[in-house]
């Protein structure tokens, strides 16, 4: 390890070397003078005989260095000096890259969080959820879960959970909370250890309602119990049932569903106390949200699937009524199987491609900037070549500059994206749910950003390489930097076309998305969300038995009706376009075998009060509405939508009065037909059959009061709250306007539009700077020629054409390509953004106008400069 003193000795070494060389030349000079030369001649001859002193000294010094490392250091210092000389260039380049790399890092982090990174549990890689056949719904019934758990040989314990809500009383005020009902082995199968106290174990379960225990999530403990360590062993009321707090789960464990994290966990065996009814023994009722577990070491997916299928064939044989077609497949947990994943994945992949294009555009931009700079520095490069520098050395210098810029840009972009991602992962997009957006950046994201920075640095750094290798120092020093205006297409031109095309794609697709979103906001939902409050209550949470619910619900409606300004009040179990909905099987009126394969089809089921249709402004097309006389003692009736009538009754006019059956065998008579609407949380859905059943005959503990008023619904909130408190102070309620509630349904299209909009704006900015750079460069290079043209009497138009014709031609080619590609790309968009269609004259016109505007803005200053050329001044210069 003698290199440490060496570094300190170096200066002395170098000084000695210089001195020695100086003495050498001096001695030679003296010798030559003695031989009869003149002093000047002798000195020149001595120098010539010695060779390139600087180069030789440098080589001698290199002997003592880590040559590459230190000359890179010198390159870096030189590059920094260059940047200090043109801070505007450096700043523009760094900002451009920061934006582009930042955008990529954000999109990648989201992609990483949702798809690449396994769930945050120990050995998350081997965790799989079980999906039934090819059915995208991965729900199971509890008895089936028990059979799967006990009969499979492939999993290290199969756990189950389902999402519920409950009213929780910890002090005086009741509050509403979201929870996981979990199987007893849930934490042990996942390998989760408690933060405090203990977690639920399989040994806690001894049949229905035997385990009144609750495990708090860290976040809920922190926000609702203020980190109180004495909470373990305390009793809390869940839906008025006492539960004992066992412990707190660790902070990094936020449930097994991405996006949605629970406030706390309760054993599934106590589901009756949470949901108000128990399906623990109902094999045909699939309500267990997800069944998942770690594969045993060495077991492949195929083996596990085969194993599960053998359990499935046992189920089919033993329970032919409930378990038909019991084949299974494995899916990644976290995004509820194949149900949501493909759409999200397609969208994120699309976004990633667009972000990649942005970065490519930025690289093209910087590449042409660097090429222009290299041309401007032709003289410097030529001098260095003439002084004996090697071309590799000069290239390394140029690449060092490029990499410095790209690393600085990458770092800035990463910092910005980390800040954005932190905000995003703490974002509660829906106030009614605890959200867990798993996008905190990790090492993968940092590595990705670094890689992007390096790759893009090399990409745009490599652009001027050919230029440097071709340059002839002798010519350049003699004639000044080459101002040849080639007619042939250069790399720089191609880069510009590419960049404009990319911008065109982004502008087109963001316009399509914005138009689609705007249109979907003015679509006919089958109800009118304006001026309406939704009040979500769950009587089960307040301990009401099912038979007392209708009376209480009627009292709530009547009380709301008395609030001044309220025009109508209705009740619905789950409003349309809510995040959740209830699909039910529909059978013909003669059906006796109520198994799913025998169903005529599915319809979305709503349970409503007679006043709902009026409060929601859903139009009754034929027949009659319900009344409160349609109660438990009257024949069962239903109101269906137009699509239901079309699909299940051949002759639509005969639908009123017709009969059909539902899964439990109840015969229903259609008494009315209403307009079609939007029901599932996806505005892009096809018309769906829907049926409305009277709450009087089909009670539901959880309901939404639909309160329509003549004034701003926000002003009613306080009155609604106090009215509810007067009725039952122990009833938690969640109040928001229907428009707010619908944000959930519009979330995907909003996010898509926002992200596309941001990318579109970035693309536009990039191409403005790109075109500007190119136009300014070509005008600057040709000022003298333009001056001559003007002196010879060229008109303004001709001057402009000469100066910018090429830029405009490239712009036109690029825009056309971009528009065409953009229109193709929007087909993908149509899956996510409702009514996103590229066949829209407004979008086309808008995109064309935008691109033209971009061109004008970007070339404005260079055009002015070209026109204001004063031939006299220019020609007088050198």
């Amino acid at each position: 390890m003698n290199w440490i003193p060496q570094i300190f000795r170096r200066r002395k070494l170098y000084n000695e070397l210089s001195e020695e060389i100086r003495l050498h030349i001096e001695e030679r000079t003296e010798q030559l003078v003695r031989e009869g030369m003149s002093a000047t001649e002798a000195e020149q001859t001595a120098r010539r005989a010695f060779g390139n002193r600087t180069l030789l000294e440098e080589r001698s010094r290199e002997v003592w260095q880590w040559p590459t490392l230190e000359s890179i250091g010198a390159d870096v210092r030189f590059a920094l000096r260059q940047f200090r000389r043109s801070p505007g260039f450096a700043f523009a380049a760094i900002v451009t890259l920061a934006l582009a790399i930042g955008a990529n890092a954000v999109v990648f982090a989201v992609l990483n969080g949702f798809f690449l990174r396994p769930l945050n549990v120990p050995q998350g890689q081997s965790l799989y959820a079980i999906q039934r056949g090819n059915d995208p719904y991965i729900v199971q019934s509890y008895p089936d879960y028990l059979d799967l758990r006990d009969r499979n040989r492939s999993f290290d314990g199969l756990a189950a959970y389902t999402i519920s809500q409950a009213g929780i009383v910890t002090g005086n005020d009741p509050s509403h909370a979201w929870l996981y009902q979990v199987s007893g082995n849930y934490f042990d199968a996942l390998g989760i250890h408690p933060y405090m106290g203990r977690l639920i174990h399989a040994s806690d379960e001894h049949g229905p309602n035997s385990a009144p225990y609750i495990v708090l999530s860290y976040a809920y403990w922190h926000s609702h119990f203020h980190d109180d360590r004495g909470v373990v062993g305390r009793s809390v009321l869940l839906n008025k049932h006492p539960f004992t707090v066992l412990g707190v789960s660790p902070p990094e464990f936020r449930g097994t569903l991405l996006i949605f994290s629970p406030d706390f966990f309760v054993p599934m065996v106590n589901s009756e106390q949470i949901d108000g009814e128990s399906f623990l023994n109902a094999r045909g009722t699939r309500w267990v949200f997800e069944v998942l577990g770690h594969l045993k070491p060495g077991v492949t997916q195929a083996q596990a699937t085969a194993d599960l299928d053998s359990v499935g064939s046992y189920l089919e044989k033993t329970y032919p009524r409930d378990d038909t077609q019991s084949t299974f497949s494995l899916v990644r947990p976290g995004l509820h199987g194949d149900f949501v994943a493909p759409a999200v994945r397609a969208f994120l992949a699309g976004l990633m491609v667009l972000a990649g294009l942005i970065l490519l555009a930025a690289c093209a931009n910087l590449g042409s900037l660097f090429a222009a700079r290299a041309a401007d520095r032709g003289r410097e490069v030529a001098l260095r070549l003439a002084l004996g520098s090697t071309r590799t050395r000069i290239l390394r210098q140029l690449l060092t500059e490029a990499l410095l810029i790209s690393l600085a840009g990458g770092a800035a972009g990463l910092v910005a994206s980390v800040m954005l991602l932190r905000r995003l992962s703490a974002w509660q997009a829906f106030p009614q749910f605890p959200m867990n957006i798993p996008v905190r950046p990790d090492a993968t994201v940092y590595l990705f950003a670094l890689l992007l920075a390096l790759v893009s640095g090399l990409l745009f750094g490599i652009v001027p390489v050919r230029q440097v290798f071709k340059s002839n120092p002798y010519e350049i020093v003699k004639a000044g930097s080459s101002a040849r205006i080639g007619r042939k297409l250069t790399v720089r031109d191609l880069l510009l076309v590419l960049q404009v095309a990319i911008c065109g794609v982004l502008v087109t697709s963001s316009m399509v998305a914005v138009r689609g979103l705007a249109r979907s906001l003015h679509t006919n939902f089958g109800f009118e969300p304006q001026d309406t409050l939704l009040v979500n209550t769950n009587l089960a949470m307040a301990g009401y038995p099912p038979d007392k619910m209708p009376a209480m619900q009627k009292r709530m409606m009547n009380a709301m009706q008395t609030i001044p300004g309220v025009t109508s009040v209705g009740l619905v179990d789950i409003p349309p376009l809510h995040m959740g909905w209830n699909p039910s099987y529909v059978f013909s009126n003669r059906a006796t075998d109520m198994r799913p394969p025998n169903a005529e089809g599915q319809a979305i089921e709503y349970r409503i009060s007679p006043e709902y249709l009026q409060a929601a402004k859903t139009v009754l097309l034929a027949g009659r509405n319900f009344s409160w006389h349609d109660d438990a003692n009257a024949p069962r009736v239903a109101v269906v939508n137009r699509e239901f009538a079309r699909k299940f009754f051949a002759n639509r006019s005969q639908a009123v009065g017709a009969n059909f059956k539902i899964t439990d065998g109840t015969l229903l008579q259609v008494v009315g037909i209403v307009e079609d609407g939007k029901y599932t949380a996806n505005l892009a859905e096809d018309p769906q059959p829907a049926m409305f059943l009277p709450l009087g005959q089909f009670p539901s503990g959880e309901t939404y009061l639909v309160i329509r008023s003549g004034r701003d619904p926000q002003q009613l909130v306080a009155a609604v709250r106090s009215t509810l408190r007067d009725l039952d102070p122990g009833l938690p309620a969640f109040i928001q306007t229907w428009n707010e509630e619908m944000n959930g349904a519009l979330f995907a299209s909003r996010m898509a539009t926002a992200s596309l909009g941001v990318l579109g704006v970035m693309g536009a900015m990039l191409s403005i700077t790109g075109i500007f750079g190119m136009a300014a460069f070509s005008v600057g290079k040709r000022l003298r020629e333009l001056g001559i043209r003007i002196a010879l009497g060229a008109q303004r138009k001709e001057v402009l054409y000469a100066a910018l014709g090429r830029a405009f031609k490239l712009l036109a080619i690029g825009s056309a390509a971009g528009l065409a590609l953009g229109l193709l790309a929007t087909r993908v968009l149509a899956y996510i953004v409702y009514q996103a269609t590229p066949r829209d004259p407004l979008v086309l016109a808008g995109a064309v106008v935008t691109m033209a505007l971009l061109g004008v803005v970007a070339t404005w200053i260079p055009a002015q400069r070209a026109l204001s050329v004063n031939p006299l001044v220019l020609l007088r210069e050198d």
């Binding site: 000695e16 070397l17 001195e19 020695e20 060389i21 003495l23 050498h24 001695e27 030679r28 005989a49 010695f50 060779g51 390139n52 002193r53 030789l56 000294e57 080589r59 001698s60 010094r61 290199e62 002997v63 003592w64 040559p67 590459t68």
Partner: protein, 116 residues
Amino acid sequence: MADTNSRDLFPGALEMMILESLRRQPAHGYALVQHIQQRSNNLLQVEEGSLYPALQRLLKAKLVKAEWGLSSTNRRVRTYQITASGLRRLEQQISSFERMFQGISLVLDPGEARTS
């Protein structure tokens, strides 16, 4: 840096000649150049400066050592002296050079190669 020896006859030749010269007697840079040129009857046109990177390499490898002093003509000079390990290296190099030279002449003179 890769072409450090490009002006030499072959890699290491200049170092070898320097070591050989220094084995005969210690010398400073200028004297070394003179010596090499004279000894080769000016057949080898060594660029004077290229001596210095080679000397630095030898210094670093501790094959020679240097000392400031006065020359016979009373000039301030830095005189180089071969070290023990320098001598050992020189012997190795000479013998391997001779082997190589022998090989080359065998190839270049096929008549002799056939008889041997």
